[in-house]
Amino acid sequence: MSLYSGFIYFFGILSIFLGIMVITRKNAIHSAVYLIFCILSIAGLFFLLQAEFIAGIQIIVYAGGIMVIYVFTILLIKLEVVKGLKRRWEIKLITAIVFSALSGEILYLLLRKREALLPEEYGIAKGTVQAVGSYLLRDYLIPFEVVSLLLLVAMIGAIMLSRKKV
């Protein structure tokens, strides 16, 4: 086992372990802290897979930004109210379906179509920031501009939702 695959295994097992810790903690804040480290270890995996831009975004946006939102959401709700709630069976059913579909897909890819997991054969370049930039500004100009519209919609939505007088 080379050093490289050792690191892959390390981050993979670490992120699975931290993910299990996230969903088994009683205290929501503890879950959030474990989720931060889970996200960071997934960023390590992205980094090892040479998707450096995604790794950076994972750290900046997910660990830095979205986790702040999660923590604020936890702070905004009264935890005593949530503790008493029973999970509805519809949500359980949807979770089960999504989980089995996703894990089935991953298992299928691992067992049957392993070659689909190797991006080089499909002409996908390395995910360095530079490569992503040249893709964005050469082939995906319109989607790049649409991103700004999407962010605008999100901004307006955030302001609309969190203010009483609109």
């Binding site: 050093l3 490289y4 690191f7 804040i29 831009f53 950076g56 975004i57 900046i60 946006v61 830095g64 930004g65 979205i66 702040v68 939102i69 604020f72 959401t73 936890i74 702070l75 905004l76 709700i77 009264k78 935890l79 920031v129 530079q130 992503v132 930039g133 040249s134 964005l136 500004l137 050469r138 100009l141 790049f144 501009e145 991103v147 700004s148 519209l149 962010l151 605008l152 999100a154 901004m155 307006i156 955030a158 302001i159 969190s162 203010r163 009483k164 609109v166």
Partner: protein, 114 residues
Amino acid sequence: MELFLLFIIVGLLTLGMLFIGAILGPKKISKVKLEPFECGSPLLQKEIGPFSIKYYMVALLFLIFDIEVAFLFPWALVFKRIKLTAFIVILAYFLVLIVGFIYAWKKGAFEWEE
């Protein structure tokens, strides 16, 4: 390869420093030391309580501008190669977002008082 060595050395160094600190450092635990630290002031409340929604909006706006800036990194690295196109593209990108910025400002999203 150098990167992995860096990871290993930094990891071992960190663990070693923590270990040495745990062994050699004096341990004097007192009640004050074990309290959660809140900017040096006395604790306002014991547990996590309900929060003002304004914090949430600040967090949401922070996240949006965060993502906005994240797209600047790939742009900045290819700017030297595709000069004018890149400039026009980012100009249009920011024009749309400045509309949102002005909207947020006009709606008083950056003001704390109602």
